[in-house]
Symmetry: C2
Subunit: 207 residues, 2 copies
């Protein structure tokens, strides 16, 4: 069994490698990759060793090859159908965010409980009433739910998604969810970026 901490880091390695690839970088040294991922280079070597031999001594890592290998090892080299609940400001931004389908996650359905939003069509998807989620999610082979409701409504959204049959949830609402043990939940929270930028501003000032 691979430790949970390793999985968290591997997901970040793939994200960082993909952004290097977007910048047309083909090879990266283990030091540079380590710095970009906020880990030590010995940690990267240890994590990758679960899956095989990757780096080339004196050269570093071939980015495309490493992305493919990690994705295959994580089992994420395929398309995942998603359903989004809460088509407000953030929900609409997520439905238009090109980076999501680029990573293999396709929003196939969107739900809301506000009559003013139901019937809207965004990026070809018609917003439906939450009460229809139980019939729609299985029919579209949806496996992942996104929650972009206000925090006090997130638990109810999670209950609907789980009852409809999703197998995992990514939530953007700042609220803890009570879910069965076999349903993984990922909480999206960018506050560590705020802390880091503040620290580096101070550091520049003290130079």
């Amino acid at each position: 069994r691979i430790p949970k901490a390793t999985i968290g880091r591997l997901a970040v390695y793939v994200q960082v490698l993909e952004s290097l690839r977007r910048d047309r970088v083909e090879v990266v040294s283990s030091e540079k990759l380590a710095q970009a991922c906020s880990v030590n280079s010995s940690q990267i070597r240890k994590d990758l060793a679960y899956f095989g031999e990757f780096g080339v001594r004196g050269v570093g890592y071939y980015i495309q090859e490493l992305i493919t290998s990690i994705k295959r090892s994580l089992g994420i080299d395929r398309v995942w159908n998603c359903a989004l609940v809460g088509v407000g400001n953030l929900g609409r931004a997520l439905m238009k965010h090109r980076d999501i389908p680029r990573k293999g996650f396709v929003i196939k359905a969107a739900f809301d409980c506000d009559p003013d939003r139901i019937g809207l069509v965004i990026k070809g998807i018609e917003v439906m009433c939450l009460s229809r989620i139980k019939e729609v999610v299985p029919s579209l082979d949806v496996e992942v739910g996104f929650i972009s409701t206000p925090p006090e409504r997130a638990q109810r959204a999670a209950n609907f998604l789980i009852e409809a049959g999703v197998r995992g949830i990514v939530t953007f609402a700042p609220a803890r969810l009570e879910v069965p043990a076999n349903i993984p939940v990922e909480y999206v929270d960018f506050s560590h970026h705020l802390y880091a930028v503040a620290f580096y501003i101070n550091q520049e000032a003290n130079k």
Copy 2:
């Protein structure tokens, strides 16, 4: 000097500790904190050692005390005034997101270049034309810029922010920015959460 990798992790420790505090947890073991932060517990001890002695043997860490100490060490125990550029779907969601002011970052001004958006008032802030940023940012002591424009417009937004005098940038647009070496940039990207949820769904299926 503290390594960049340590700063990245400390910012995540604060974020995780604050979410435990929100769940009214007062003490956390070093194993539990390590798992929640996707690091090993020896890594946490090493990182904190730069700032002093924190954990209590056999008990763990007192959450409130640890948050205060790390924030003071990082120099983020004060309010940061921010300016947001790009008041579209995501921009509006950020201006309403209660988690940002809760962490000490206050959006004081918002800018856009679309005449339909200029003049809107969101959470008491009037959206202004980007051309006014040079006079507004210094007058409000703004130090941090948020970018929530489409990716192909992010560089232009960054140039305006830097010329206006911001000292650091947090960008949500998936595009690399060219900025002077003394301006820190944090890129907000949640794709590692997508990869992690997919992996755990597969893991549940293989049990």
